[in-house]
């Protein structure tokens, strides 16, 4: 099953079980969704529950908030992360806060999903990552999974949850293949150990987990060590327990993310580790991230603006050697 099929399946199952679930967004209906995540749904559930919206992101999220107030369970799709900026007022001032400001009286069982990140030459207005911003907002759960099985379970959880969830996808993951264990009971807030290891803890999420996995054999060979790769899955809350266990074992921490380095999401992980795991670390932590530049269109420039399996291997090997690993 493909990643996008796993998402589709999760949506489909929940919509079929519960009439109050609706999905809305640009081209999600008749067109089948720009990344085909909502394919086939309008045929099954009709135009009233699979809603083609105008190009009005503020309203897409704002309407979803109102739908949730009105008793529906809306799943809003934004076409690309960059467009989510138009909806930030509704996401941050409304979706995240109404529950608290009303002392729990308003309940918002809703999801906002969108793909983000550097795909292939979509240039600066279509290539950014906003998990650092959204994961910093109290009142929002932020899920962002790498794995196909998790895609199914986490989206299903997000829709069934009575709290507002931001569900962040990556354009290059939609065609990823994987198995789904439909019967599994999965806690979407628990990090996934993508690979066990004993000497270096490499933390990542979303698409970069795959790039890290591609880099690992070369790293292990060059440094003669074993890497543990942790896929965060949930960006807020963060599963610190899993991180603590791993770092206690390895004493070494690397964070890999695609977003621009300055102020990127990984700063939270490293900063937490510095505060809480200082004495467990045998070497300075390493943070690999994108360059602090808008994403350029040209392919070589684009690739050189973000971590790649090659650059990840190279940078971790150099760091390992510098730190006597």
């Amino acid at each position: 099953m493909l990643y996008r099929e796993a998402l589709n399946r999760a949506l489909d199952e929940v919509m079929s079980a519960d009439d109050s679930v609706v999905t809305l967004g640009e081209d999600v209906g008749l067109y089948g969704g720009s990344f085909r995540v909502t394919e086939g749904l309008v045929e099954k559930y009709g135009e009233k529950r699979v809603i083609d919206t105008p190009i009005a992101e503020l309203s897409i999220v704002g309407n979803a908030v109102g739908m949730a107030i009105g008793g529906l369970r809306p799943v809003a799709e934004l076409m690309t992360g960059n467009f989510s900026l138009l909806a930030f007022d509704q996401i941050i001032n409304h979706m995240a806060k109404l529950h608290y400001m009303s002392n729990g009286k308003i309940i918002l069982p809703m999801v906002v999903r969108f793909p983000q990140g550097v795909s292939r030459q979509l240039a600066a207005q279509h290539s950014e990552s906003y998990e650092q911003m959204l994961s910093a907002v109290p009142g929002l759960r932020v899920l962002s999974v790498n794995d196909v099985n998790y895609a199914y379970h986490a989206l299903k959880y997000a829709i069934l949850s009575d709290d507002p969830v931001v569900f962040i996808e990556h354009e290059l993951l939609y065609n990823k293949k994987g198995e789904v264990d439909f019967a599994q009971k999965l806690d979407p807030f628990q990090a996934r150990i993508a690979k066990e290891g004993s000497d270096i803890t490499i933390v990542s999420y979303l698409k970069m987990v795959d790039d890290v996995m591609l880099a690992v054999p070369e790293i292990e060979e060059a440094l003669g060590c074993s890497c543990e790769v942790i896929d965060l899955c949930s960006l807020n809350p963060i599963d610190y327990e899993t991180l603590i266990e791993s770092i206690q074992k390895t004493s070494r921490l690397v964070m890999v993310e695609e977003d621009h380095k300055t102020g990127g999401y990984g700063a939270q992980i490293i900063s937490w580790a510095a505060e809480e795991m200082f004495y467990a670390l045998d070497a300075p932590p390493l943070r690999l991230a994108g360059e602090d530049v808008p994403v350029p269109y040209n392919r070589s420039l684009e690739l050189s603006s973000i971590p790649t399996p090659e650059s990840i291997a190279q940078d971790i090997i150099a760091w390992g050697k510098n730190n006597e690993l």
Binding site: I51, S59, G66, G71, H99, I106
Partner: protein, 323 residues
């Protein structure tokens, strides 16, 4: 409208005004803080519209005390919220701008100008899908009609023929800026004309507001799509208690107050509903008493517990739910 309703509306208008003055007094005393937006001068509009929209969902902004009370929220619980007390409608976490009571279909207080409009549209969508007979009313100021959220809402509501009543309270000012300086015309209903039927009404006349909103409500509930009502009104105070109102001349204010909605309605009570002076005085006394009780209740209510800080960030503890 019958006499009973007229008396109730008079009660709410008098209560509303007294409530606002009571709030102002307690702001001066330091019992209330933050932004406090008073609805004095606009009582006919808040009371008339809410009473005409008996059922159905209401979304409003930050100038919503009288609306909340007209919807049936306890003056005590509203005042306690202004005091930031645990007995407030929002447990002291929301304050004046954030009154919510879903059990009364009141999702009042939004402090982002126009922010409630997309929410109201979404709720109207839900009601249509649920084949619910009641519609939704969105209340907002003239200032909100210049923002993108307003227009997106007109367009979407019209496209889906949603049961949504747009009620614009045109008091001509957004804080200190007159609407004529930020829009090409004074009448904001013009902006809605391409999308839906529009009505104008004198917002200082409670009866007129009641009639027009009742009419509009019937129209949206009949499934013909959204309706826009613009009510011209006037706030007597500054934008919020901390605004000195220096941008309006004494003449402008006098002109404003000559249209006083409570005086006008009182006259109708006498002349049309044949209320006696005593009946009217009893209403006024009752209203005054309710406000005094509310203030007392708010004063005596406890502060939230320190743990309240961490409560209601989320509805469910994440660890317990698995798919």
């Amino acid at each position: 409208m019958n006499k009973l309703l007229a008396e109730e509306m008079y009660y709410l208008m008098v209560l509303g005004r007294a409530f606002e003055y009571g709030a102002k007094e307690n702001y001066m005393k330091g019992n209330i803080s933050g932004f406090l937006h008073l609805d004095i001068g606009q009582e006919a509009l808040s009371v008339g519209a809410i009473k005409a929209f008996e059922k159905g969902d209401i979304f409003s902004g930050y100038r919503e005390h009288i609306m909340a009370i007209s919807r049936g929220l306890e003056p005590k619980a509203v005042m306690a919220e202004l005091f930031g007390k645990s007995t407030g409608v929002s447990g002291g976490k929301g304050g004046s701008m954030h009154l919510f009571e879903p059990s009364h279909y009141f999702y009042g207080g939004d402090a982002i100008v126009g922010g409630q409009l997309p929410n109201a549209v979404g709720c109207a969508y839900a009601r249509a899908l649920q084949e619910n007979d009641d519609g939704v009313m969105a209340i907002f100021g003239d200032g909100a009609t210049n923002g993108g959220a307003f227009f997106e809402s007109l367009n979407i509501a019209a496209t889906h023929k949603l049961p949504l009543l747009f009620l614009c309270e045109n008091n001509e000012y957004a804080i200190g800026t007159n609407i004529r300086r930020t829009a090409p015309f004074r009448e904001q209903a013009k902006k809605a004309e391409p999308y839906m039927p529009t009505y104008e009404v004198d917002g200082m006349d409670a009866e007129a507001v009641y009639e027009v909103v009742s009419q509009a409500r019937k129209q949206i509930e009949a499934g013909h799509g959204p309706v826009f009502v613009e009510a011209f009104t006037c706030r007597y105070e500054g934008h919020s208690v901390s605004d000195a109102n220096s941008y309006r001349s004494a003449q402008e204010m006098a002109h404003c107050k000559a249209r006083d909605p409570i005086e006008k309605f009182k006259k109708a009570l006498h002349e049309k509903w044949l209320c006696t002076e005593e009946e009217i005085q009893n209403i006024e006394i009752k209203a005054q008493k309710a406000v005094e009780d509310a203030v007392k209740y708010a004063e005596e209510s406890p502060e939230p517990e320190p743990e309240a800080l961490f409560e209601h960030v989320f509805y469910q503890e994440h660890k317990n739910v698995v798919s």
